[in-house]
Symmetry: D3
Subunit: 278 residues, 6 copies
């Protein structure tokens, strides 16, 4: 469940520059350069922890003498009051980095927590919870990692690593069959072709045109069940469309392979975590 | 209520590169280079609109022949079903930019909507709703603009433009009076000094040490009322601490000048907006 | 056959800075700021033209009063002596940009030319010529575009948009079946799984493990024919391994779906093109 | 023969990002984070090795626990089958960096190999082989280093570090004498003035105008010999123009000081090198 | 008096690239890669030293085996002939970095020296010497640090961390009272409001409108004294306007709180420092 | 005398970001978005103007509706009170850009003014005034342009475009003859070789070793005259070493070809220029 992200340092430095501006005037005025502090990151509510190493890296970029020691791993469950990590080192760097570290740690833990709730909702079925491209600009790698930490799977990372023909594409391309045929002839042979369908007729057309994956967009439960039966494993199936507000178990019980939920990343409630000095 | 942001284009180009990766393979395979489309951005739920010009700029960066024509202004109220803007131009650019534009437009509108709810909750009092530094890394300028569009005011933009001595600073500096005294002697004379207080004794100490602004952190309502009376306009007052889950009207009625709410930006529910081709 | 590349300007500006350094001292000393020139880009040998719009953009970045007017389109065939484009505008900008423009134009045309030769070699068969990731660092988008202009197709753009399990992966993962099984359980459902095989036994194992695409690496022709028969359309097939020095028609006649050729981009002979002032 | 290049890390990180995209999905799915591998880089054909430290740096940027141990130095001759370097460390980093490292290593070795062939062709004469500005955009420092490793010398690095008045400059400046005179009066006194000449009359004019270096562009052998005699060491001499396809020894025997060859860098055949896991 | 500057390395790398260009050809040609040198930085005139750690960092970025050992601290006074620091390590890196290091070290020491002269001029009064935004583009953080090392204080770092209503703002806003009123209603509550006044009438208007700080712009000494009396500590006071050429003690004796001097940073005389090899 | 600088926009945007930070809070609070202003740039002291187009570009980057109309050209002489340029357009952009524009305009004019003084001091002799690499990091292109505008010539732009063997190189290389010999054998043939000499013996050694240019470092006038005679035009000659404080005419009368003056750029007095709104 580790995170490998070649651009992480650049991202974190940019985040620190945004938050620090011309300098942390409060810390530099009030705290001596030689002061050393010890503190703890504490969960104020239950959830799934994510972003421990990202938070650690924020502090390391400010001062390599700061040591953040996790007590849990990304993906672990925490309850209110748990100490998630200890921190010790030069006070200035800890105080200057606190907000940037928490902004990411709380957001990533919030995503992991919500994902875990969705995964739990469908447990026992064979349906997998997947994310979408409805992520925060600049944070996609971190947010999709948080989804994995919550037990979910990733859909496409970007527009280059999957064919997904949506409603507006179908309009512009002149129909489902036309769109699939165009995609088949031009796309790299390593990609599957996924297409959106809203009705059973569209499902049949997509299937006939050779779609590898069919996405049911905003479909009622009974239509979805019917669609799964029609497809009969000749294509993968994915339920989509405001899934953040649907009964996920009911959706899973239609037999779809995947449920994709934009709200996992577009409507995040930060997990409440605080840093306390001793 | 306009947004001036020198780095906007760089931010949006980075967002587009993150979402496009090596190329929008679906659009490039399925849609002819010469195709032209017309569509509309439609609100699927009520709220306050924010980000219209940001969305327009996303498309302009992809293809300057795309025209996004707003029907409202940032800060306006919308109801479900309203057309927020019309769009017309080369189909490829519209399809490729759709997700990036919506990711920002929906998020900014979500922040403006939540801010407007908070502002409404305290309307009639003299208390102002302000934001915090609990913003998404990379998006601070946009998120603080959205708070203004929702009727809120901005607190500090970064660590350089205000002295705010928080609990951990007080611990590391050796107390409230020491911290204020250090700040006074070293900080630029253009900045006010704000300090956090959790008890009435701390309020008295901060006042005696000459704080310009006193922040009440997680204080019960009756203590807060008492604190406002003690201060008696000798310093500005600010209520803080999980204000996203407090009764804002009751807090305002203690007489505090400002209520700062981290949840305005750290726990955003995206406003549901979609783009429909005609 | 057009090129859409969001980062093109940044790439070209970097290329210009590399070539110009602190300033084009020859041009600035010898040529008056107000001088205007007219010239032509001329092919000195036959081939397929590619990079006309890239060259035009180089000059536009230096001086928007320079007009480069193509007489052909990317992908067109030229013979020695043909005028490929006319150019007119401020002499300084043309002279300063000449080398950078030609370095790209000649290289891209060289790739398109070599690709077209490969495509011609297999014409009449159903086999498609595809490229690899053996491109020049920094130029992948341009080089893969040149392959398309020469009539070839693109394989993966990068490591994120396709599963391709190669010999060293198989060693490290503990075998073909193990590797495919691991990939299947963890990769996004939008991607196909391709695996390298060197023997018929490996082909059988890959097929049994459910590979979507099987790559024949450095396989003799008769083994390859046998492999195609064994697979019998249950997976796509790709021939690979020093294909730049093999008899492509003979390879195609084994019935493979794709031939991937690293030499298309790693061993390019620039097409000879020159700019002549009138 | 070492390489000092302040921007190397930035260049390599950009190359890695281009090749990795959103993540090396194959490696991350199939190979455990704790796996360790050992392998060897093996020459598949004879040539001159170049880029060993560049390759080593690619892996170090991905994972500092990877050790690449060269068995040769840049500039050394290899034969087919030789082990050029050993590598050991975390499997994931080695697999993810392999292609980027090889793309550079093979290209640089290809340039060094071709340069060495040219140097050998003129051995025993006093003529030196030099490169040109016909390099790949973004790779000039690496490619000119490879030329040095092959025994060649470098011509100008960019347009700022030498005056070279070419045919189109002469047209735009109004003649050879005018151009040299303008250059002399305005250029920094640290630079020599080089000018292109195609005929003996032009050679005489350049000499009379005080050129420091005269370049013979596409000149027949006997004219070149005559030109060298006329100049009689009053200026340096350089032969140029499709030298990649000329008889270099014959050119050298005219007595020219330098032969500049664009093909050293614009028409590179990558040296065949592979990485094999044990 | 230490410097914390998150972007320092990027700034120094850019400075090195500007000075090195395509490579330090003199050093690389004349000095062996294995050569090691020892030298000393010596003050050639008296002054206040500033930039020792910046200089050290320049060399560390070029070669981490170079050791620069300061004999003084930033802010210390030096006399002509003093050794400021010793340096030892690979000769190439020292020679290549010398100019960039000295360009910064000499400039920063020049600023600290001039600031110290101004501070000395007002010693014994309660007036503080402050800088302005008249800094060199790109060097603001370093130049404002040098002012602190010379004993001065910093005014605003940028346009975001203080309200300062200048003459042209007053013209455009329609007067002093209007401008202050607009600022009060819209600016973050953490900022003080400063305004420029040229006459006593303007001072009275600014005071009446609630200005926190009043800047006397180009005011004669007796008017300034009068203004200080009128204000009578109800606002902070700042003298400004060509203060680099005024009698600072006389200005201080009017009782102003601050004297801001643009010349501290816009008209710097570099302190003469040289590096001598032993 | 125009300036061509491919990176100018990036440099100016960075300068604006440094000065604007999170936003020009004064202007945005006090000035309406629709306000329009007219003003003039006025010289407050006599000098040589430089940077008019740079200033214009600063404003254009902020708002393309701002028009800055120069009344003079770069390199022209101004007297106190002259209007240098008119400006008109949206008030916000003018106010926000004023400081950045003036910081550059005043500095560049200060350099041009001081250079013109030096050029005047040696007028009538054949000696040329040249600059050095003692420029402000990040501003070299602009500062060397200002030197040209003041009538001076440029020395090397960076370490790649000239061989200059200085005292420390001589120490590290083991003497003058050794250093010149090493440079000759390894440097590109397009560069001249310059070397520093402090005594007549060193001058003789440099001449014997074939130096193209000999720099007299901190040499007394009579020694310098003697050196010029000894050299007798067999090499170019350059006087150097605290020339900012020497009698330039006396130096020129020794017959040296060039006088290089670091103080032109390292000890700049900004020309006093102000912007006044009407």
């Amino acid at each position: 469940m580790d995170l490998e992200y070649l651009g992480l340092d650049d991202f974190l430095l940019a985040a620190l520059r945004e938050d620090i501006g011309a300098g942390d005037i409060t810390t530099n005025c009030c705290i001596s350069e030689s002061a050393v502090s010890t503190g703890a990151f504490i969960a104020k509510e239950p959830g799934v922890v994510c972003g421990l190493h990202v938070a650690a890296r924020v502090f390391a970029l400010l001062d390599r003498d700061i040591r953040l020691t996790p007590r849990l791993n990304d993906g672990d469950i925490t309850k209110a009051g748990d100490v998630l990590a200890d921190i010790t080192g030069p006070s200035r760097g800890i105080l200057t980095g606190e907000r940037t570290a928490l902004n990411l740690f709380q957001r990533m833990s919030g995503i992991a927590t919500r994902t875990a709730e969705a995964v739990t909702a469908v447990s026992g079925t064979k349906t997998r919870i997947v994310d979408t491209r409805k992520t925060t600009p600049g944070l996609r790698v971190l947010e999709k990692y948080a989804v994995r930490c919550g037990g979910g799977s990733n859909h496409r990372f970007n527009l280059a690593d999957g064919i997904l023909i949506k409603d507006n594409h179908i309009v512009a391309a002149g129909g489902i069959s036309a769109a699939i045929s165009l995609a088949r002839s031009a796309c790299p042979h390593t990609l599957k072709i996924e297409i959106e369908a809203e009705t059973l007729a569209q499902v049949e057309e997509a299937l006939g045109a050779g779609a590898d994956i069919i996405m049911f967009d905003n479909m009622p439960l009974d239509t979805m069940s019917e669609a799964v039966k029609i497809i009969n494993r000749r294509a993968l199936t994915e339920a989509s469309g405001n899934m953040g507000e649907r009964d996920l178990r009911a959706v899973a019980e239609t037999g779809v392979d995947f449920i994709s939920i934009g709200a996992l990343t577009h409507s995040v409630k930060a997990l409440d975590i605080s840093l306390r000095f001793k």
